[in-house]
Protein backbone atom coordinates (compact mmCIF):
# COMPACT_ATOMS: atom_id res chain seq x y z
CA UNK A 1 0.00 0.00 0.00
CA UNK A 2 1.56 3.27 -1.11
CA UNK A 3 1.56 6.39 1.04
CA UNK A 4 1.11 8.39 -2.14
CA UNK A 5 -0.61 8.11 -5.48
CA UNK A 6 1.82 5.94 -7.41
CA UNK A 7 -0.41 5.35 -10.41
CA UNK A 8 0.57 7.10 -13.62
CA UNK A 9 -2.89 6.78 -15.06
CA UNK A 10 -4.53 9.78 -13.42
CA UNK A 11 -6.52 11.57 -16.07
CA UNK A 12 -10.28 11.69 -15.45
CA UNK A 13 -13.13 13.96 -16.55
CA UNK A 14 -13.99 17.04 -14.53
CA UNK A 15 -17.19 15.31 -13.35
CA UNK A 16 -15.22 12.28 -12.17
CA UNK A 17 -12.70 14.53 -10.42
CA UNK A 18 -15.39 16.40 -8.47
CA UNK A 19 -17.16 13.12 -7.68
CA UNK A 20 -14.14 12.15 -5.54
CA UNK A 21 -15.24 14.77 -3.00
CA UNK A 22 -17.81 13.46 -0.50
CA UNK A 23 -20.30 15.71 1.25
CA UNK A 24 -18.74 17.15 4.41
CA UNK A 25 -15.21 17.26 2.98
CA UNK A 26 -12.75 20.11 3.50
CA UNK A 27 -11.17 21.65 0.40
CA UNK A 28 -8.07 23.81 0.25
CA UNK A 29 -8.47 25.86 -2.92
CA UNK A 30 -5.55 27.28 -4.89
CA UNK A 31 -5.10 30.69 -6.46
CA UNK A 32 -6.02 34.09 -5.01
CA UNK A 33 -9.19 36.15 -5.54
CA UNK A 34 -9.95 36.14 -9.29
CA UNK A 35 -6.59 34.70 -10.27
CA UNK A 36 -5.98 31.07 -11.23
CA UNK A 37 -8.62 29.62 -8.94
CA UNK A 38 -10.05 26.12 -9.56
CA UNK A 39 -13.31 27.67 -10.69
CA UNK A 40 -14.45 24.99 -13.17
CA UNK A 41 -14.07 22.49 -10.33
CA UNK A 42 -16.06 24.71 -7.98
CA UNK A 43 -18.91 24.98 -10.51
CA UNK A 44 -18.86 21.19 -10.92
CA UNK A 45 -19.39 20.84 -7.14
CA UNK A 46 -22.54 22.93 -7.64
CA UNK A 47 -23.73 20.77 -10.57
CA UNK A 48 -23.24 17.68 -8.41
CA UNK A 49 -25.17 19.36 -5.55
CA UNK A 50 -22.47 18.78 -2.92
CA UNK A 51 -23.31 19.86 0.61
CA UNK A 52 -21.57 20.81 3.86
CA UNK A 53 -18.23 21.56 2.18
CA UNK A 54 -15.53 23.40 4.13
CA UNK A 55 -13.47 25.95 2.19
CA UNK A 56 -9.88 26.62 3.25
CA UNK A 57 -8.13 29.44 1.41
CA UNK A 58 -6.27 32.58 2.42
CA UNK A 59 -7.99 34.86 -0.09
CA UNK A 60 -11.09 33.32 -1.66
CA UNK A 61 -13.62 35.44 -3.53
CA UNK A 62 -15.66 34.25 -6.51
CA UNK A 63 -15.20 30.60 -5.44
CA UNK A 64 -16.51 30.91 -1.91
CA UNK A 65 -19.19 33.36 -3.00
CA UNK A 66 -20.70 31.05 -5.62
CA UNK A 67 -20.47 28.07 -3.24
CA UNK A 68 -22.38 30.04 -0.59
CA UNK A 69 -24.87 31.18 -3.20
CA UNK A 70 -25.55 27.56 -4.28
CA UNK A 71 -25.73 26.23 -0.71
CA UNK A 72 -22.63 24.02 -1.10
CA UNK A 73 -20.32 25.57 1.52
CA UNK A 74 -21.18 25.50 5.22
CA UNK A 75 -17.81 26.20 6.85
CA UNK A 76 -14.79 28.33 5.93
CA UNK A 77 -11.33 29.20 7.18
CA UNK A 78 -9.95 32.26 5.41
CA UNK A 79 -8.01 35.49 5.78
CA UNK A 80 -9.70 37.94 3.43
CA UNK A 81 -12.76 37.47 1.24
CA UNK A 82 -13.75 39.80 -1.58
CA UNK A 83 -14.52 39.71 -5.26
CA UNK A 84 -11.66 42.24 -5.73
CA UNK A 85 -10.89 43.97 -9.01
CA UNK A 86 -13.39 46.77 -8.28
CA UNK A 87 -16.28 44.43 -7.45
CA UNK A 88 -15.95 44.98 -3.70
CA UNK A 89 -17.40 42.61 -1.11
CA UNK A 90 -18.43 39.06 -2.00
CA UNK A 91 -22.20 39.51 -1.54
CA UNK A 92 -23.43 35.93 -1.09
CA UNK A 93 -20.54 35.09 1.21
CA UNK A 94 -21.32 38.16 3.25
CA UNK A 95 -25.01 37.26 3.57
CA UNK A 96 -24.18 33.64 4.44
CA UNK A 97 -22.01 34.77 7.37
CA UNK A 98 -24.48 37.40 8.52
CA UNK A 99 -27.36 34.88 8.48
CA UNK A 100 -25.28 32.19 10.19
CA UNK A 101 -25.38 29.85 7.17
CA UNK A 102 -21.59 29.82 6.89
CA UNK A 103 -19.54 29.08 9.99
CA UNK A 104 -16.41 31.21 9.68
CA UNK A 105 -13.03 30.66 11.29
CA UNK A 106 -11.41 34.03 10.58
CA UNK A 107 -7.67 34.00 10.09
CA UNK A 108 -4.89 36.26 9.00
CA UNK A 109 -3.54 34.89 5.73
CA UNK A 110 -0.28 33.98 7.44
CA UNK A 111 -1.96 32.24 10.40
CA UNK A 112 -3.84 30.01 7.96
CA UNK A 113 -0.51 29.32 6.26
CA UNK A 114 1.00 28.48 9.66
CA UNK A 115 -1.76 25.91 10.23
CA UNK A 116 -1.09 24.43 6.79
CA UNK A 117 2.64 24.40 7.50
CA UNK A 118 2.00 22.47 10.73
CA UNK A 119 0.16 19.82 8.73
CA UNK A 120 2.81 19.85 5.98
CA UNK A 121 5.65 19.55 8.51
CA UNK A 122 3.91 16.79 10.45
CA UNK A 123 3.73 18.67 13.75
CA UNK A 124 0.60 19.54 15.78
CA UNK A 125 1.00 23.31 15.64
CA UNK A 126 3.18 26.00 14.12
CA UNK A 127 4.42 29.35 15.44
CA UNK A 128 3.20 32.42 13.57
CA UNK A 129 4.79 35.86 13.75
CA UNK A 130 2.72 38.92 14.60
CA UNK A 131 -0.89 38.51 15.81
CA UNK A 132 -0.15 40.33 19.08
CA UNK A 133 -3.03 42.55 20.16
CA UNK A 134 -5.44 41.14 17.56
CA UNK A 135 -8.94 40.01 18.58
CA UNK A 136 -8.46 37.07 16.18
CA UNK A 137 -6.44 35.47 18.96
CA UNK A 138 -9.41 35.70 21.34
CA UNK A 139 -12.11 34.38 19.01
CA UNK A 140 -9.91 31.49 17.88
CA UNK A 141 -8.46 30.77 21.32
CA UNK A 142 -4.91 30.70 19.91
CA UNK A 143 -2.25 29.97 22.53
CA UNK A 144 0.87 32.07 23.08
CA UNK A 145 4.09 30.24 24.05
CA UNK A 146 7.21 31.49 25.76
CA UNK A 147 10.38 30.71 23.84
CA UNK A 148 11.58 27.51 25.58
CA UNK A 149 15.14 28.54 24.71
CA UNK A 150 14.92 31.65 26.85
CA UNK A 151 14.93 34.59 24.41
CA UNK A 152 11.97 36.07 26.27
CA UNK A 153 9.94 36.27 23.06
CA UNK A 154 6.32 35.15 23.03
CA UNK A 155 4.93 33.49 19.91
CA UNK A 156 1.43 32.46 18.98
CA UNK A 157 0.99 28.90 17.77
CA UNK A 158 -1.68 27.80 15.28
CA UNK A 159 -3.11 24.26 15.28
CA UNK A 160 -2.49 22.11 12.19
CA UNK A 161 -4.88 22.50 9.26
CA UNK A 162 -5.01 19.53 6.90
CA UNK A 163 -7.61 19.82 4.14
CA UNK A 164 -9.03 16.54 2.86
CA UNK A 165 -8.18 17.75 -0.64
CA UNK A 166 -6.09 20.55 -2.12
CA UNK A 167 -7.67 21.60 -5.42
CA UNK A 168 -5.32 23.43 -7.76
CA UNK A 169 -5.87 25.02 -11.12
CA UNK A 170 -2.60 24.51 -13.00
CA UNK A 171 -1.17 25.87 -16.23
CA UNK A 172 -0.25 22.38 -17.37
CA UNK A 173 0.37 18.80 -16.32
CA UNK A 174 2.38 16.12 -18.05
CA UNK A 175 0.82 12.73 -18.72
CA UNK A 176 1.92 11.36 -15.33
CA UNK A 177 0.34 14.27 -13.46
CA UNK A 178 3.34 16.45 -12.63
CA UNK A 179 2.08 20.00 -12.12
CA UNK A 180 3.35 23.29 -13.52
CA UNK A 181 2.11 26.80 -12.77
CA UNK A 182 3.09 29.95 -14.66
CA UNK A 183 3.67 33.11 -12.63
CA UNK A 184 3.18 33.09 -8.88
CA UNK A 185 1.99 29.89 -7.25
CA UNK A 186 0.28 31.90 -4.48
CA UNK A 187 -0.18 29.37 -1.63
CA UNK A 188 -0.71 26.34 -3.88
CA UNK A 189 2.58 24.71 -2.93
CA UNK A 190 2.02 24.67 0.85
CA UNK A 191 -1.65 23.79 0.28
CA UNK A 192 -0.57 20.69 -1.68
CA UNK A 193 1.81 19.60 1.08
CA UNK A 194 -0.76 20.10 3.86
CA UNK A 195 -3.65 18.24 2.21
CA UNK A 196 -4.35 14.53 2.33
CA UNK A 197 -4.83 14.45 -1.44
CA UNK A 198 -4.25 16.81 -4.37
CA UNK A 199 -6.78 17.19 -7.20
CA UNK A 200 -5.68 19.17 -10.23
CA UNK A 201 -7.51 20.87 -13.05
CA UNK A 202 -5.04 21.89 -15.75
CA UNK A 203 -5.36 24.11 -18.77
CA UNK A 204 -3.55 21.57 -20.92
CA UNK A 205 -1.86 18.22 -21.08
CA UNK A 206 1.70 19.12 -22.01
CA UNK A 207 3.93 17.19 -24.40
CA UNK A 208 6.98 18.98 -23.01
CA UNK A 209 9.50 16.76 -21.23
CA UNK A 210 9.17 18.11 -17.66
CA UNK A 211 12.43 16.31 -16.76
CA UNK A 212 14.32 18.89 -18.85
CA UNK A 213 13.39 21.59 -16.30
CA UNK A 214 12.23 19.73 -13.19
CA UNK A 215 12.46 22.90 -11.06
CA UNK A 216 9.34 24.23 -12.80
CA UNK A 217 7.20 21.42 -11.36
CA UNK A 218 5.51 22.53 -8.12
CA UNK A 219 3.76 19.23 -7.32
CA UNK A 220 5.23 15.84 -8.30
CA UNK A 221 2.88 13.22 -9.72
CA UNK A 222 2.95 10.94 -6.66
CA UNK A 223 1.14 13.61 -4.61
CA UNK A 224 -1.62 14.01 -7.19
CA UNK A 225 -4.61 11.71 -6.89
CA UNK A 226 -6.19 12.62 -10.23
CA UNK A 227 -6.28 15.42 -12.75
CA UNK A 228 -8.69 16.71 -15.39
CA UNK A 229 -8.00 18.96 -18.36
CA UNK A 230 -10.28 21.97 -18.71
CA UNK A 231 -9.27 24.71 -21.12
CA UNK A 232 -10.15 28.19 -19.71
CA UNK A 233 -11.18 26.49 -16.46
CA UNK A 234 -10.20 29.46 -14.29
CA UNK A 235 -12.88 31.57 -16.02
CA UNK A 236 -14.19 34.16 -15.16
CA UNK A 237 -10.84 34.71 -13.46
CA UNK A 238 -7.42 34.94 -15.04
CA UNK A 239 -4.84 32.30 -15.84
CA UNK A 240 -1.49 33.88 -16.60
CA UNK A 241 -0.34 34.29 -19.35
CA UNK A 242 -3.21 32.72 -21.32
CA UNK A 243 -6.14 34.93 -20.34
CA UNK A 244 -7.17 37.84 -18.12
CA UNK A 245 -10.22 38.37 -15.90
CA UNK A 246 -13.50 38.40 -17.87
CA UNK A 247 -14.95 41.49 -16.18
CA UNK A 248 -18.33 41.46 -17.97
CA UNK A 249 -18.81 37.80 -16.95
CA UNK A 250 -18.16 38.66 -13.28
CA UNK A 251 -20.62 41.54 -13.62
CA UNK A 252 -23.22 39.13 -15.01
CA UNK A 253 -22.55 36.67 -12.18
CA UNK A 254 -23.25 39.41 -9.63
CA UNK A 255 -26.81 39.96 -10.88
CA UNK A 256 -29.44 38.90 -8.38
CA UNK A 257 -31.62 35.83 -8.76
CA UNK A 258 -31.35 32.08 -9.42
CA UNK A 259 -31.68 32.61 -13.18
CA UNK A 260 -28.53 34.75 -13.20
CA UNK A 261 -26.64 31.99 -11.40
CA UNK A 262 -27.93 29.31 -13.79
CA UNK A 263 -27.06 31.47 -16.80
CA UNK A 264 -23.59 32.05 -15.41
CA UNK A 265 -22.94 28.35 -14.79
CA UNK A 266 -24.25 27.42 -18.24
CA UNK A 267 -21.99 30.03 -19.86
CA UNK A 268 -18.86 28.47 -18.30
CA UNK A 269 -16.26 26.95 -20.65
CA UNK A 270 -16.64 23.45 -19.17
CA UNK A 271 -20.42 23.50 -19.72
CA UNK A 272 -19.81 23.00 -23.44
CA UNK A 273 -18.07 19.69 -22.70
CA UNK A 274 -20.96 18.82 -20.42
CA UNK A 275 -23.55 19.33 -23.11
CA UNK A 276 -21.65 17.35 -25.74
CA UNK A 277 -19.37 15.38 -23.50
Amino acid sequence: MSSGFASKDKQVSLAELAALVPNGASLGLGGSFLHRGPFAFVRELIRQEKRDIEIIKQSPGYDIDILCRAGVASRARCGIVAMEGNFGLAPWYRRAVEKGHLKLEEHACASLTAGLRAAAFGVPFMPCGGLHGSDLVRINDWKCLDDPYGSGQKTYVIPAISPDFAVIHASSVDRDGNVRVAGTYHWDRIMSRAAKSVLVVAEELSDTRFADQPELTIVPYFMVQNYAIVKNGAWPGSCWPSYAIDYPAVDAYLQEGPEALARHIDAAPEAEVHRHG
Partner: protein
Protein backbone atom coordinates in the same frame (compact mmCIF):
# COMPACT_ATOMS: atom_id res chain seq x y z
CA UNK B 1 -7.58 79.86 -7.28
CA UNK B 2 -5.22 76.92 -7.71
CA UNK B 3 -6.33 73.94 -9.77
CA UNK B 4 -8.38 71.58 -7.67
CA UNK B 5 -6.73 68.49 -6.23
CA UNK B 6 -9.10 65.52 -6.48
CA UNK B 7 -9.59 63.21 -3.50
CA UNK B 8 -8.36 60.29 -5.58
CA UNK B 9 -5.15 62.01 -6.61
CA UNK B 10 -4.71 63.27 -3.03
CA UNK B 11 -4.84 59.71 -1.65
CA UNK B 12 -2.56 58.12 -4.26
CA UNK B 13 0.00 60.93 -4.19
CA UNK B 14 0.20 61.09 -0.41
CA UNK B 15 0.54 57.30 -0.14
CA UNK B 16 3.46 57.58 -2.59
CA UNK B 17 5.06 60.22 -0.38
CA UNK B 18 5.38 57.62 2.40
CA UNK B 19 7.74 55.56 0.22
CA UNK B 20 11.44 56.10 0.94
CA UNK B 21 14.58 55.50 -1.13
CA UNK B 22 15.91 51.92 -1.29
CA UNK B 23 13.28 50.57 1.09
CA UNK B 24 11.49 47.26 0.50
CA UNK B 25 7.89 48.30 -0.10
CA UNK B 26 4.86 46.02 -0.57
CA UNK B 27 1.38 46.42 -2.04
CA UNK B 28 -1.25 43.73 -1.67
CA UNK B 29 -4.71 42.48 -2.59
CA UNK B 30 -7.72 44.78 -2.74
CA UNK B 31 -5.30 47.70 -2.77
CA UNK B 32 -5.57 49.74 -5.94
CA UNK B 33 -4.48 53.10 -4.43
CA UNK B 34 -1.21 51.73 -2.97
CA UNK B 35 -0.50 49.82 -6.20
CA UNK B 36 -0.84 53.10 -8.08
CA UNK B 37 1.21 54.89 -5.40
CA UNK B 38 4.10 52.45 -5.82
CA UNK B 39 3.99 52.75 -9.61
CA UNK B 40 3.72 56.55 -9.29
CA UNK B 41 6.75 56.71 -6.99
CA UNK B 42 8.79 54.71 -9.51
CA UNK B 43 7.99 57.34 -12.17
CA UNK B 44 7.90 60.59 -10.20
CA UNK B 45 10.92 60.48 -7.92
CA UNK B 46 14.65 60.66 -8.64
CA UNK B 47 15.47 57.78 -6.34
CA UNK B 48 14.55 54.10 -6.57
CA UNK B 49 13.13 51.58 -4.10
CA UNK B 50 12.41 47.84 -4.05
CA UNK B 51 8.81 47.30 -5.07
CA UNK B 52 7.35 43.88 -4.27
CA UNK B 53 3.72 42.90 -4.57
CA UNK B 54 1.16 40.18 -3.97
CA UNK B 55 1.38 38.92 -7.57
CA UNK B 56 4.94 37.82 -6.78
CA UNK B 57 6.53 40.69 -8.70
CA UNK B 58 9.86 42.29 -7.79
CA UNK B 59 10.37 45.68 -9.49
CA UNK B 60 7.98 44.65 -12.29
CA UNK B 61 7.40 46.53 -15.52
CA UNK B 62 3.73 45.79 -16.25
CA UNK B 63 2.73 46.36 -19.89
CA UNK B 64 -0.57 47.84 -18.71
CA UNK B 65 -1.98 48.89 -15.35
CA UNK B 66 -4.41 46.26 -14.03
CA UNK B 67 -7.73 46.95 -12.33
CA UNK B 68 -7.05 44.14 -9.86
CA UNK B 69 -4.15 44.96 -7.55
CA UNK B 70 -3.24 41.27 -7.41
CA UNK B 71 -3.23 40.82 -11.18
CA UNK B 72 -0.41 38.68 -12.62
CA UNK B 73 0.48 41.69 -14.80
CA UNK B 74 2.21 42.97 -11.65
CA UNK B 75 4.81 40.24 -12.04
CA UNK B 76 5.45 41.01 -15.70
CA UNK B 77 9.11 41.86 -16.27
CA UNK B 78 10.02 40.53 -12.82
CA UNK B 79 13.20 38.44 -12.74
CA UNK B 80 11.92 36.37 -9.81
CA UNK B 81 8.69 35.28 -8.20
CA UNK B 82 8.58 36.33 -4.55
CA UNK B 83 5.41 34.45 -3.61
CA UNK B 84 2.90 34.88 -0.78
CA UNK B 85 4.75 32.85 1.83
CA UNK B 86 7.95 34.74 0.98
CA UNK B 87 6.66 38.26 1.63
CA UNK B 88 4.89 37.31 4.86
CA UNK B 89 8.02 35.61 6.15
CA UNK B 90 10.09 38.64 5.10
CA UNK B 91 7.74 40.80 7.15
CA UNK B 92 7.67 38.66 10.30
CA UNK B 93 11.47 38.49 10.35
CA UNK B 94 11.51 42.26 10.47
CA UNK B 95 12.71 43.14 6.97
CA UNK B 96 9.59 44.67 5.43
CA UNK B 97 10.34 48.38 5.44
CA UNK B 98 6.90 49.54 4.34
CA UNK B 99 3.68 47.66 3.72
CA UNK B 100 0.35 49.07 2.62
CA UNK B 101 -2.71 47.53 4.29
CA UNK B 102 -6.43 48.15 3.92
CA UNK B 103 -8.74 49.11 6.79
CA UNK B 104 -12.47 49.62 7.21
CA UNK B 105 -12.25 51.33 10.61
CA UNK B 106 -9.24 52.96 12.27
CA UNK B 107 -8.80 54.18 15.82
CA UNK B 108 -6.57 56.96 17.16
CA UNK B 109 -3.69 54.53 17.71
CA UNK B 110 -3.86 53.45 14.07
CA UNK B 111 -5.18 49.96 14.82
CA UNK B 112 -7.56 48.50 12.24
CA UNK B 113 -10.89 46.71 12.00
CA UNK B 114 -11.40 44.82 8.75
CA UNK B 115 -13.71 42.16 10.15
CA UNK B 116 -17.20 43.31 11.05
CA UNK B 117 -19.59 46.08 12.00
CA UNK B 118 -21.33 45.07 15.20
CA UNK B 119 -20.46 42.00 17.21
CA UNK B 120 -18.10 39.51 15.53
CA UNK B 121 -20.28 36.44 16.22
CA UNK B 122 -23.46 38.17 15.00
CA UNK B 123 -22.27 40.87 12.63
CA UNK B 124 -24.50 43.58 11.26
CA UNK B 125 -22.08 43.72 8.35
CA UNK B 126 -19.52 41.06 7.60
CA UNK B 127 -16.45 42.78 6.12
CA UNK B 128 -13.74 41.09 4.00
CA UNK B 129 -11.29 40.36 6.85
CA UNK B 130 -7.81 41.65 7.47
CA UNK B 131 -5.74 39.51 5.10
CA UNK B 132 -2.17 40.25 6.02
CA UNK B 133 -2.95 42.87 8.65
CA UNK B 134 -2.85 40.96 11.96
CA UNK B 135 0.56 39.56 11.10
CA UNK B 136 2.02 42.46 9.11
CA UNK B 137 0.92 45.48 11.13
CA UNK B 138 2.83 44.51 14.31
CA UNK B 139 5.89 43.20 12.43
CA UNK B 140 6.49 45.56 9.48
CA UNK B 141 8.82 48.48 10.12
CA UNK B 142 6.08 50.80 8.86
CA UNK B 143 2.56 50.19 7.62
CA UNK B 144 0.37 52.78 5.91
CA UNK B 145 -3.28 52.80 4.95
CA UNK B 146 -5.98 54.88 3.31
CA UNK B 147 -9.70 55.44 3.64
CA UNK B 148 -11.76 56.83 0.78
CA UNK B 149 -14.36 57.98 3.34
CA UNK B 150 -13.32 60.39 6.08
CA UNK B 151 -16.05 60.18 8.70
CA UNK B 152 -16.82 59.38 12.32
CA UNK B 153 -17.86 55.88 11.30
CA UNK B 154 -14.53 55.09 9.63
CA UNK B 155 -12.21 57.00 12.01
CA UNK B 156 -13.50 55.96 15.42
CA UNK B 157 -12.67 56.24 19.11
CA UNK B 158 -13.27 52.52 19.61
CA UNK B 159 -13.11 49.77 16.99
CA UNK B 160 -15.93 47.21 16.75
CA UNK B 161 -13.20 44.56 16.45
CA UNK B 162 -9.40 44.79 16.53
CA UNK B 163 -8.40 42.77 13.47
CA UNK B 164 -4.88 44.21 13.41
CA UNK B 165 -3.02 45.80 16.27
CA UNK B 166 0.27 47.68 16.19
CA UNK B 167 -0.66 51.02 14.78
CA UNK B 168 -0.37 52.41 11.27
CA UNK B 169 2.56 54.73 10.64
CA UNK B 170 0.50 56.76 8.20
CA UNK B 171 -3.12 57.22 7.16
CA UNK B 172 -4.41 59.13 4.14
CA UNK B 173 -8.03 60.15 3.58
CA UNK B 174 -9.48 62.47 0.92
CA UNK B 175 -8.94 65.43 3.26
CA UNK B 176 -6.09 64.57 5.61
CA UNK B 177 -2.73 62.89 6.19
CA UNK B 178 -2.06 61.44 9.64
CA UNK B 179 1.32 60.20 10.89
CA UNK B 180 2.05 58.24 14.06
CA UNK B 181 3.65 60.34 16.78
CA UNK B 182 4.26 58.98 20.30
CA UNK B 183 2.07 55.95 19.56
CA UNK B 184 -0.93 57.94 18.34
CA UNK B 185 -2.07 59.28 14.99
CA UNK B 186 -1.29 62.98 14.70
CA UNK B 187 -2.46 65.22 11.88
CA UNK B 188 0.39 65.99 9.53
CA UNK B 189 -1.51 68.02 6.95
CA UNK B 190 -4.93 68.65 5.48
CA UNK B 191 -6.23 68.97 1.94
CA UNK B 192 -5.77 72.59 0.80
CA UNK B 193 -9.53 72.84 0.19
CA UNK B 194 -10.28 71.50 3.68
CA UNK B 195 -9.32 72.85 7.12
CA UNK B 196 -8.23 71.75 10.58
CA UNK B 197 -11.77 72.44 11.81
CA UNK B 198 -13.29 70.20 9.16
CA UNK B 199 -10.85 67.37 9.89
CA UNK B 200 -11.66 67.59 13.61
CA UNK B 201 -15.37 67.74 12.88
CA UNK B 202 -15.28 64.59 10.75
CA UNK B 203 -12.88 62.49 12.90
CA UNK B 204 -14.14 60.21 15.69
CA UNK B 205 -10.87 60.16 17.67
CA UNK B 206 -8.93 63.06 19.16
CA UNK B 207 -5.53 63.88 17.69
CA UNK B 208 -2.60 66.22 18.02
CA UNK B 209 -2.42 68.81 15.23
CA UNK B 210 0.60 70.85 16.27
CA UNK B 211 2.80 71.63 13.26
CA UNK B 212 0.01 70.58 10.85
CA UNK B 213 -0.76 72.72 7.82
CA UNK B 214 -2.15 72.42 4.30
CA UNK B 215 -0.68 69.54 2.28
CA UNK B 216 1.92 70.58 -0.31
CA UNK B 217 0.25 70.40 -3.74
CA UNK B 218 1.32 67.71 -6.19
CA UNK B 219 4.53 68.41 -8.07
CA UNK B 220 4.34 68.40 -11.83
CA UNK B 221 6.14 65.05 -11.89
CA UNK B 222 3.66 63.51 -9.44
CA UNK B 223 0.80 64.85 -11.50
CA UNK B 224 2.29 63.59 -14.77
CA UNK B 225 3.06 60.18 -13.29
CA UNK B 226 -0.52 59.68 -12.14
CA UNK B 227 -1.87 60.87 -15.49
CA UNK B 228 0.37 58.36 -17.25
CA UNK B 229 -0.96 55.56 -15.02
CA UNK B 230 -4.59 56.56 -15.46
CA UNK B 231 -4.70 58.31 -18.85
CA UNK B 232 -8.45 57.87 -19.31
CA UNK B 233 -9.40 58.54 -15.68
CA UNK B 234 -10.82 55.03 -15.29
CA UNK B 235 -9.23 54.40 -11.88
CA UNK B 236 -10.34 57.81 -10.69
CA UNK B 237 -13.95 57.18 -11.81
CA UNK B 238 -14.02 53.68 -10.30
CA UNK B 239 -12.65 54.92 -6.98
CA UNK B 240 -15.41 57.59 -6.84
CA UNK B 241 -13.65 59.48 -4.04
CA UNK B 242 -15.38 62.63 -2.84
CA UNK B 243 -13.97 65.27 -0.56
CA UNK B 244 -17.38 65.68 1.03
Amino acid sequence: MAEQWSGFSYIVTNLARFIRPDEITFSGVNSTPPMLACLLAKRAYDWDFVYINVAGGVDPSPSSIPISSSDPLLAEGSASIFANEDFYDLCTRGRMDLTFLGAAQLDGAGCANNSCIGEWAHPKVRLPGGGGGAVMLPTARRACTWRTEHSKRTLVAKLDFVTSWGGMHGVVTPIAVFVKRDGKLALQSWHPESSLDEVRERTGFTFDASDAGPTAPPTSREREALESLDPHGQFERDAAVRLR
